[in-house]
Amino acid sequence: MVGSDKFPVSSPRWLLAELTYTCPLQCPYCSNPVDFARHKDELDTEDWLRVFSEAREMGAVQLGLSGGEPLVRQDLPILVRHARELGYYVNLITSGYKLNEDRIAELKNAGLDHIQVSIQAPEKTLNNYLAGTESFEQKKEVARLVKKHGYPMVLCVVIHRQNIHLMREILEMAVELEADYLELANTQYYGWAHLNRDQLLPTREQFQEAEAIAQDYKEKLKGKMKIYYVVPDYYEDRPKACMNGWGTTFLTIAPDGLALPCHEARSLPGLDCPNVRDMSVHDIWLHSDAFNKFRGYDWMKEPCRSCPEKTKDFGGCRCQAYLFTGDMTAADPVCGKSPHRHAVFEAIASARSAAETGETKPMVFRNTKNSKSFSG
């Protein structure tokens, strides 16, 4: 039993509800599991309403409705209304695809607080190529409508080697659309992004140039637009404090009801995550093995165990440790103290060589056909 050193269990603040794995887009960096096609049994409306209530009672206050594409759920307004009545701040995280003005108004009326629209690139051809659909003009229109209906407007652009050279254009697009917030999210290499890493990971020089531009705009747009810059951890010397610590803040519920301490945790073998169909959110958070597994520091090995920085970064990301080392209790290999750091350098070198020679495998797009081939 973990928690023997009486690590105090805080209550969840964030509930991420992945309402469905269905999505009309095919982003090659999608964070959904590569074998999503095998998890078909979606929670129904009643299940979600109960999960929202239970998590709210535990203290969750931010609710992210995501997917896949959450707009494909016909019961979305019912879910939004219930969540808002419970006192959640309700965030809709969407590609904006097929979102029209009626729907935007209907959701506002149901109590939706905010719509985050993701755009793949600041120009049509690249956007449509990355999304795998004709969607650029329509997304921009959605961004305008979001504004018009009084929502705070958050644009999200995932950054990688196919669009990083357009950093300035991305920022200009956000200005033109009068975004209140711009999230520049450097790709995190899990799932589909991990498959496509050689084609997606920018070089260090590209990162530095893009970051300088983003910082410049950050200063310039102070008071007008908030820019969140999600750092590319491969080029850092210390890992991110993943999920603010395992089982301290975040609770993700997958479309089929699986409760995850982080949205990648499904990929960790033997973690045995509980399902909201069998267990209450209360019991999941406090008593399940999966949520207790990496709470506190007892589970750590060296170099983390005796490291003074463990209270700051919690040893980094468990999923990244597993992906690189096959051991989910290892230090996150992006850490300069990790004995597996060389594996990250090799990944960087491999992507650089692909970038310089132009010799890469074709990109694997996120769609059901490709997913089935990973579903065994």
């Binding site: 206050v61 931010q62 209140d180 008071g223």
Partner: protein, 93 residues
């Protein structure tokens, strides 16, 4: 932006100020984020409803807490709330 003591202070329509029972405190909610407030900050921000200027907020709180000399602390908090975009100043007509 500089604080204008004469204008009226209103809470931002893009943020929400809310009491959290589980945390026993007020929080400010905004897209994908939250700020936990201490009691004095919450008392001040609750009065930013578009009907009061700085003097109005000061006298209201000094009366409520039966004290004086709150003006500096209050204007400091309003300034940082303004910088964070939590409140707006509406110039008097």
């Amino acid at each position: 932006m500089a604080l204008d003591a004469q204008s009226l202070f209103a809470f931002s329509p893009l943020h929400r100020l809310q009491w959290e029972e589980a945390q026993q405190r007020y929080v400010i909610l905004y897209p994908e984020g939250l700020v936990e407030l201490n009691l004095p900050a919450a008392e001040i921000l609750k009065l930013c409803d578009g009907t009061r200027d700085l003097d109005g907020i000061v006298s209201e709180l000094e009366t409520k807490f039966e004290t004086t000399g709150l003006r500096d602390d209050i204007s400091e908090l309003l300034q940082s709330a303004l910088d964070n975009g939590w409140i707006r100043q509406i110039p008097r007509q």
